[in-house]
Symmetry: D3
Subunit: 170 residues, 6 copies
């Protein structure tokens, strides 16, 4: 090994909104690599997003502000192109269930074939292994208590947004 290389990793997702499960993965990535880029997907997911791209980026930035080596960027288009532009050689993904694993494996092979970028999987923290943004939103929208599953400022944003929606549909 010659001169030092900056080791960068990307954590991609839609983060609608960021949960404690996401935050756990980002924090672990930040201890293993020199820089972590959180790539927030511009496009809406299957059932539309609750928060806009700007709101989602803002929430991620605020809850990761304490990490010195985390940066947040929007992403539009192929993840491998994003990696090439940002000098990133590895993607980090949290794994929960087996079904996650298979979809992720498929994407990992495709991304490796497209550009040689590697995907590193880490086991989700057992405390959040059942947690996804979509389940979180479903439970919260039906009045379930999701405190402890998202950072406090995300909880406030979520409550506010769901109240707006209820007001609108009333």
């Amino acid at each position: 090994m010659d001169e030092p290389v900056t080791r960068r990793v990307v954590c991609p997702g839609s983060f609608d909104p960021i949960t404690n499960g996401h935050l756990d993965i980002i924090g672990r990535a930040s201890t293993l690599f020199d820089e972590v880029v959180v790539a927030v997907g511009v496009n809406a997911g299957k059932s539309g997003n609750l928060f806009s791209i700007d709101e989602r980026i803002d929430l991620v930035q605020r809850v990761t502000a304490d990490y010195g080596n985390v940066r947040v960027e929007p992403i539009d288009g192929l993840l491998v192109d994003f990696c090439a532009r940002h000098g990133i050689r590895a993607i980090m993904r949290g794994l929960r269930a087996v079904s996650d694993y298979e979809y992720e494996l498929q994407m990992s092979h495709m991304n490796h074939r497209l550009s040689g970028v590697e995907t590193l999987f880490v086991a989700a923290n057992p405390l959040y292994s059942y947690l996804s943004s979509s389940l979180l939103k479903e439970v919260a929208s039906l009045g379930g208590d999701v405190a402890g599953l998202v950072p406090d400022l995300v909880l406030s944003a979520l409550d506010e947004r769901l109240a707006e929606r209820r007001a609108k549909s009333a």
Copy 2:
């Protein structure tokens, strides 16, 4: 980010013997981290080993000699203790099937709990996704052709060892 940190990763296994599947993972680790330590298990696996610990280390060293940042060490005892002694914060493991995944997840959680060390999983190269040292030895011992599944010098060592065994049992 302050001063540069040496990013080290460990690839543990029994390597009895090292296959092209193992080598693929080690090579990929060597591009992502500053140093790769291959930790070869001293203890025999379930059905005894075909090669001694010294032979297994020697084979790994010879087939990884071209990588400038790969080092081979014997390991005895807990992997987390090995990591602590060598200043390693991450374990890298190749994943093949779902059953792999679950056992590895279990070990990953236990190791994280014991010492905070992280386990990074990468998808096995599809070409070697069906390959394990034990299947390799079973096929080779029944006379099947395993060229292309192990480096050439491992193939020679394997043929020689199996011929010795046949001579003995004759």
Copy 3:
């Protein structure tokens, strides 16, 4: 153990329509607990329902009439709130495939976290292990024979409804 407690369990679902697979689970629940509450989801599933909430409840009531301890209720909102209102401490779910299992596990953890309610899984009867309401409707709508997979009165209701649909779209 002091005074006798009434042991209640809930079998939730959309039952659009109830199949022999559902009926098998409900029957088994009825032998293990003092009371079984079948909770029929008010909201339409992903692709709309074939039967209205009243029709679905009616069909469930008619095919479970012989069990002395089964009650049918509509459900709207969180299942854990329904359980709290009805004094229910356990949810019973039939498991078919691995993918079922993982989704169900996720919901089970979330529900346990929200209120302490337990989810009890039972293995689907092998005879109905490949059966779901959506596959049933797909096959029946293409003219496949589904007798034996649903109770007779459900079969009649299904045939009638599909005939109506065909008449409308003709």
Copy 4:
């Protein structure tokens, strides 16, 4: 065994468009059976088709022209009815991931129950184990290079169709 029977097998799918993964399965089927019927689904998949039924049939015919015993047919309605009409006793399906496997198993049991037709599963070629028509289209539409994953003439058709779409939406 009396007089020789013509052994026919069907490879069903939407083939939107046919990939090298599909072609691998069809080629293997053609060596095991006397005749292979490729059944191309008339109806659009979940997210609409990129190619019309005639275009999809045409592409399959052109890339399978060299096999002497492959025939291409449109299919509408139940696969078991198609099998009955064409004197087919077995369906051949490639398997990739575990989630594939479970859905396919469910369909296999249902089809066997409906008519006694058997489903034969073969392991997808590891080289294409991560490949699906939908992932292919997603990657290609975002500008990723998919050469080597589809036959050359399919690649041209795909490029042309995606260019048309881009022109339209511009």
Copy 5:
């Protein structure tokens, strides 16, 4: 529903030794049923037991003493015969990984066929989802800290037994 029935459930295992994962399942069973019978397998597991049948029963009894409705019994022979003798209609099992699930499903079907006894599965507490007695013993025997994974009195017994073994083999 006529007169009250005593609802009994059995938690079977080898408990060599009992872990916090086992204890979590037993505790949850004790809130859902009138009586819980913990059935401790007399026969040694695959790799021999660390504790004798009497020691294992004693440890289970001491750590479940606070539950008013838990009873501990040795079991030898078929679980369904044990259930018949003790008037038990349901087995309760904790589920961790998918591989657990499939073995357990197989046993569940066989037991149901043999005697009609039902098996109720509950999701393991995420905190202990990676924990098994065999992994626990492996880690502890290599000097890993397993405090928090077993009740304190089990930890003492484990330390003592492993010290005896080390003394013997020295």
Copy 6:
């Protein structure tokens, strides 16, 4: 297609003893191919065999006697060599659980690589999906009733053998 080819398939296993699950697969193979060769493994399984190779072959022959196109042969060595010697281009395997599937997939890829032989998987009959020779022997040896899971003449042979064993160990 020129002159008719004899389509042969092999059903390999240790058949210690043959169960109704095995018989179901063999029967289905016999309707799809011109000839079915049942290959009975000479070597003992992991925990030793209950029946000798001659006894196992004899039982398979007697329960498949009614099929006109089934032949039984001992197998020793690589399955692909057996296939080459007998002019067989396909292996047929029944699939039960996901864990089966992954091991079988691994073997399928290895066998395809060694000789081009194909493996065709069929879904186990749901009625026998939980059945294996080893579970059968375990249950029978503990006195469980396994009638209906094996052909009658296998049941007699099994009862006799287990009685001999009990007499010996008494």
